[in-house]
Symmetry: C2
Subunit: 212 residues, 2 copies
């Protein structure tokens, strides 16, 4: 069983979202620019989307995943913790269809929406991964973001595969992915593929552990 990150978009300067984040602008001043590449794929739009390289990468997001871990900023806009009626961004059939563990300092009861159940917890990355792995029923766990959560789990050495998508824009401000990840290349093989669409796919595969 592996821990994986997929389709995590960043700007050239490493921001996973812009600012300020709000209900109206979930990605701040980035708008939809970080994710336009994905919306243009068959994964997002099965009829009109493209079936090329970007789609091939994007389609890896779901198969074999048994649970997701996400940060509080992904589940809702700032302040959602104070709104007992907030049920996430995704309407009545969220696309996860697995247990989802939302890292938040505000505990609440599990919330079932469609085929997805959201669990809210305060936990270290290690504890959250242990719970998600149990819930995944032998399948892999996806770290769903945002940037802070990706960073924390990667820094803790818990992620086997990381797929980043670098979008050719300079955001200047927002949530930075690379902070605290100095020397990441020591633990991963890196493969970079430039897509004809203009984005660049960076795939980090964890090197086999060296036992001393």
């Amino acid at each position: 069983m592996a821990t994986r990150i997929h389709n995590f978009s960043i700007s050239l300067d490493g921001f996973g979202s812009g600012e300020p984040q709000s209900f109206e602008t979930p990605f701040g001043h980035a708008g939809q620019r970080l994710h336009a590449w994905m919306m243009a794929t068959r994964m997002w739009d099965p009829v009109h989307g493209s079936a090329g390289m970007d789609d091939a990468f994007a389609q890896q997001h779901d198969p074999g995943i048994g649970a997701e871990i996400m940060g509080a900023h992904k589940f809702g806009p700032p302040g959602w913790q104070d709104d007992p009626d907030w049920r996430g961004w995704w309407g009545e059939e969220p696309p996860f269809r697995t247990p989802v563990f939302v890292l938040t300092h505000h505990a609440r009861e599990p919330l079932a929406v469609g085929a997805t159940t959201f669990h809210f917890l305060t936990a270290t990355p290690q504890e959250a991964l242990r719970l998600a792995t149990e819930a995944a029923g032998g399948q892999d766990v996806r770290i769903g973001g945002g940037a802070t959560v990706v960073r924390d789990f990667v820094a803790a050495g818990l992620v086997d595969h990381i797929h980043l998508v670098q979008v050719p824009i300079v955001l200047g401000r927002g949530t930075q992915l690379w902070d605290g990840l100095e020397g990441l290349e020591a633990s991963y093989d890196v493969e970079v593929t430039a897509s004809p669409s203009g984005v660049t796919h960076l795939v980090f595969s964890r090197k086999p552990s060296v036992t001393s």
Copy 2:
């Protein structure tokens, strides 16, 4: 006549050099990792270097260039301004072979070394570019770095072509290229090419000016 940047290497997290910079470690903890790709090309080693994509990009560095502008950090290690005998890193035949304008707050007399003459000046990017353009005799001007100088000239809207080389390492600290360049993509077309060597070439070509 155009203003160009070539072979400017950065880490995934946007650092053009590591820290601390010294006589022994001109690129700080980055060592030679940011430039190993270039040292492996025919441009650097005409006999044993590779002649592939990296070389094709690297070879654009010199042809058609009539002058270079560089920052104080490129000319010497911290403190070189206090050493009247410092003549640059490059021995008795520096590879520039054109006038080179070194931006520094410590004026000194021009220094001829081999076929290169170094001029030392305190100037705005606009003023430095005007002087370098005059000295270039109808050829192009190269902005030679480091990151601070690249950033300042790009932010001032003075650069027509930018060639960056992203090396798949995370430096974590050093001199950051992207600071202050928010929205750069509005002024440039961006082409990204992943090299089989593992580095990624990013080329920014300034869009034609829109006159209102």
